[in-house]
């Protein structure tokens, strides 16, 4: 058994390491954000610049782009650590693997999910959404990308040993992510109609707690299977 203080110190170290690595490889870390901006920018070009029309689909576009960009980022979240043997050392560190992987995923969200949430008001404006829906956009995407990080983390842990695992990852994670997409887009839609978005947001919050309580256990079980190969 490890003491809570030692565990928290270990988790902080995992996060700091992740941020240090990202700082030195910022071009890789920026990819999902660029993808997100490109997709949301292309959409009006391909359809119509008419704001009244864009407004009706804006919430959906934001969400689909966020979903795909998160999956893109998560595919390789554990890959290098498994390939270079770091993961084996974490398994043998005596700390619970589930918590270490959670720390890693949280750091990953800070690097890829959070920037996406932060630029989303600007993107929403570009898609013709009024500033009154910003709270719904930001909150639904914050919860949604965090949940996706855990779901994607489970899938990434399972497929890390598989070559061309990205297709498999999408097949595994996308069905689980459907409720997020439905409720996330719904929250924005309701806010746009002048109604309260509390209902869908609360459902997202419930999923958030479910994902963060059970997800790390699933990630660590999946990871143990992956490194057995």
């Amino acid at each position: 058994m490890t003491e809570p203080a030692a565990l928290i110190a270990a988790m902080r170290l995992v996060m700091r390491r992740e941020l240090t690595l990202a700082w030195r490889r910022w071009d890789e870390v920026a990819q999902p954000l660029i993808f997100y901006l490109v997709v949301t920018t292309l959409f009006p070009l391909a359809t119509t610049p008419e704001l009244a029309v864009l407004r009706t689909v804006g919430g959906g576009v934001l969400w689909v782009a966020a979903l795909l960009s998160s999956l893109l980022a998560l595919e390789s979240v554990f890959r290098s650590d498994v390939e270079d043997g770091t993961m084996e050392q974490w398994v043998l560190s005596g700390q619970p693997l589930a918590w270490l992987l959670l720390a890693k995923v949280v750091a990953h969200w800070v690097l890829t999910g959070l920037p996406l949430v932060l630029v989303s008001p600007a993107v929403a404006t570009a898609l013709g959404l009024p500033s009154s829906v910003w709270p719904a956009v930001v909150m639904s995407l914050a919860l949604g990308t965090a949940i996706l990080s855990v779901l994607g983390g489970i899938g990434a842990a399972l497929t890390v040993g598989v070559r061309r695992g990205s297709v498999l990852l999408s097949l595994l994670v996308l069905p689980l992510a459907m409720p997020l997409l439905v409720f996330g887009a719904r929250a924005i839609e309701q806010a746009l109609a002048g109604q309260s978005a509390t209902g869908p947001l609360q459902l997202l919050a419930a999923m958030f707690f479910l994902a963060f309580s059970l997800g790390p256990l699933a990630m660590s079980a999946a990871m143990r299977i992956s490194i057995e190969g």
Binding site: Q89, V91, L100
Partner: protein, 209 residues
């Protein structure tokens, strides 16, 4: 039962890699103060054996036991007594030597900068402590990986080709590290095909064939 006090035991292990039956009915015991040197041609299952002993892999039949209990059931209780050096170095090319040690060992236990300087000195790479691992040579990376063993308190050392890419001085370093470890009543299982530890009477050879 009083036997198997501080011993790592392999009991009738059979393991396959794909279609190949690599470990056939393998049994042996390593007690504290002893070292088992596993030899054999490439692809014979040395790494598989070490991974079974670490508890990463479950063999098809048989089991590995630490202090008389199956390693796969011990989990963290076994992990805190174990140090594993795989054929990969567990190093991040973008981090410096110092950072690599700090982030890897720190997950196991708190480690001070002076301890890190001390081991970097001992493995002879103190002068590149602040260089990114990317620019270090393969031998220097291996030395950095060995440095971790000193910071990672453990009774059982499981080392997979520890002397890969090392020069003659590096080979002597590995031998003295293992020698010191055995003198402290530690035990070690070492896979190697070099002339490593051949003169040490505490070392038994296990030839896989």
């Amino acid at each position: 039962m009083t036997i198997a006090a501080t011993a790592l035991e392999a009991r009738a292990i059979n393991a396959w890699r794909g279609d190949r039956h690599v470990l056939r009915d393998l049994s042996f015991t390593v007690s504290s103060g002893e070292c088992c040197k596993v030899t054999g041609p490439n692809g014979i299952g040395k790494t598989t054996l070490l991974r079974v002993l670490c508890g990463f892999m479950t063999p098809e039949t048989g089991e590995a036991l630490w202090r008389g209990r199956a390693v796969t059931r011990l989990g963290p209780d076994y992990a805190v007594e174990l140090a594993y050096l795989g054929h990969t170095n567990a190093l991040k090319p973008d981090l410096t030597a110092r950072e690599n040690l700090r982030y890897l060992v720190g997950v196991r236990r708190p480690v001070t900068p002076s301890e890190i300087d001390g081991v970097l000195e001992r493995v002879g790479i103190f002068d590149c402590a602040d260089l990114p691992v990317r620019v270090m040579s393969a031998g220097q990376r291996r030395r950095l990986s060995l440095a971790r063993l000193w910071l990672w308190p453990a009774v059982v050392w499981i080392l997979d080709e520890p002397a890969t890419n090392l020069d003659a001085a590096g080979l002597a370093l590995v031998e003295s590290m293992i020698g010191d470890h055995l003198a402290r009543r530690g035990l070690a299982v070492v896979a190697a095909h070099q002339r490593l530890l051949d003169a040490d009477p505490r070392v038994r050879r296990l030839e896989l064939a």
